[in-house]
Amino acid sequence: MATVLLHIRESIQTTLLVFTTHLWRMVRTRRTLVMLMAAAVPSLPILATAGRSVPLHAPVMNVTWFLAMQVMLPLIALIGGAAVIAEEIMDRTITWVFVRPVSRIAFFTGRLLAAQVQVAAVVTAMVGGLFVSAEMTTGKVADGPTTYEVIAPVLPISVLGGLAYVTIFAAIGAWVKRPLAVGVGYAFTMEALLANLPGTTAELSVLHHLRSLLIAEPTGDLWEKLEVAAGTLWIPYGEAVSSLLWTCGIAFVLGCWIVRRKQYGLSV
């Protein structure tokens, strides 16, 4: 029992060491800049509507539903998540870790947590950008929802979606040689296809869960009008949150298993 506790304590210490060391390193990379640029993209079409006579929620909700959630969120998570292990392999620095007496799982967890914090921060900036740009536009309707009412629920949902995507892409990055290519294929082909299929098949995608969470919000009827596919079955709020957390957990366990087994000495 004492040995197990000691092992757990060591693993937690390693996780914290890796997390604190690599978070600051990740934040200072060019990758963060690219992620921030991607996060700024959804604000641009909203700003383009400034001065035009359109209801507030129309551009903001369209941009959030189609561009932010469907394109930019997985893209930002892909850039951050794929790098968790792949960056160390590409830089050939993974050797320094795996010839040390450290738990591979603790190392993966530390880097993953750092990537999750980084992605959560960038996603927050993206949603913040949506809010600011919406506030800057002049179009308003008297009986429509306020900017805050539209944007506020998007933040926790996007962050949760970002965490799920990051964990999936981290597992992919630990497994394949070209995680960005595989990740793009997953995010923009499989996810997009599954999320837009009618019936319960859509439940296999992260995106469908995120949309379901938006639909469950007080402004849900406005979001639902954006959905063009007929016969979409939305997932209840609690079930969607639970599924996303399970997705995170399964992807994390899978990533740990891969990292523990894989011979990274072949890749460097």
Binding site: D91, R92, T95, W96, F98, V99, R100, P101, Q263, V268
Partner: protein, 308 residues
């Protein structure tokens, strides 16, 4: 440990269709052991197997009595200096070494103390707080070596630690390896240049095409190599006269002139004796030597002899 520190039985490793190591049986005892072979001989594969970065395709390997792959208990007792020049470019040497020592399991204060000490050992204290990206090849090599010796491992595995270093840096690395040996640790030193390793090693293992060509003390390996004729190319003012003189010696196998008569190609079974006596022959025959080179000085050429 009085027994072998590394034991391999039928050890093989393939990379797809490419053979890295071919059914190697090996016993490496304590001290400094040189792992010698040309590029592609299988040295790095063996080093990766020893340091637990990869698993064998077939066969077994035991290092300090344990299976190495991802074995944390064993890795705590090993230091590894890779051939790769990859470092965390944004970190300073001090940060990198402290981080490495923390990963090794040292507490923060101990990691700091150890880092300061090892930076002095590798003579990097002055540059310790600069980012590694601005370091020269020699400085980077010293950082790599520092992280491998800082925790005073029982076994130090150094993959090409002398590659690309200037003479001063080589001397420093040589001194560090000798000091490591002196404190009772074992060293496995990989290199493709025999004469680099020779002054440092007690024993050498010759590898080529994934196979072990020979292993033993430096003297034993020398004896093994001596039986093969070595080539020497001499440019002299009177090459014919020199050739006539050389052919009188028993240890000179052949002496042939270039078609244009400019260079003399000599084969000798005792290169050391040949080089020792050459000045006398040059004086005897009054033929000034313009240049002297031995194309066999490279290990690849010696391996060619041994393979054929």
């Amino acid at each position: 440990m009085s027994g072998p520190i590394i034991i391999a039985n039928g050890l093989a490793r393939w990379y797809g269709q490419v053979l890295g190591l071919n059914r190697v049986d090996l016993e490496i005892r304590g001290g400094i052991t040189g792992l010698i072979g040309p590029n592609g001989a299988g040295k790095s594969t063996l080093v990766k197997l020893v340091t637990g970065q990869i698993r064998p395709s077939t066969g077994k390997i035991a290092v300090l009595g344990q299976t190495p792959f991802a074995n944390r208990r064993l890795l705590a007792r090993i230091g590894y200096c890779p051939t790769d020049d990859a470092l965390y470019e944004d970190m300073s040497a001090r940060t990198f070494l402290e981080y490495s020592m923390r990963l090794q399991g040292l507490a923060r204060t101990d990691a700091r103390t150890t880092t300061t000490k090892v930076l002095e050992t590798v003579e990097l204290t002055d540059a310790a707080d600069r980012p590694v990206r601005g370091y020269s090849k020699g400085m980077r090599q010293r950082v790599k070596l520092a992280q491998s010796i800082a925790h005073e491992p029982e076994l130090l595995v150094a993959d090409e630690p002398l590659a690309g270093l200037d003479p001063l840096a080589r001397r420093l690395v040589g001194r560090i390896l000798q000091e490591t040996r002196a404190r009772g640790a074992h060293v496995l030193l990989s290199s493709h240049v025999l004469h680099e390793v020779e002054p440092l090693t007690d024993r050498i293992v010759l590898l080529n095409h994934g196979r072990i060509l020979g292993q033993g003390s430096v003297a034993e390996m020398r004896d093994l190599l001596v039986h093969h004729p070595r080539k020497v190319v001499v440019r002299a003012h009177r090459p014919r006269a020199l050739a006539c003189r050389l052919l009188q010696e028993e240890f000179v196998v052949s002496a042939a002139l270039d078609p244009d008569g400019a260079r003399l190609h000599v084969e000798t079974v005792d290169l050391d004796l040949f080089l020792e006596r050459l000045p006398t022959w040059v004086c005897d025959t009054s033929c000034g030597v313009l240049s002297l080179e031995s194309p066999d000085a490279s290990l690849e050429a010696v391996f060619d002899y041994m393979v054929t």
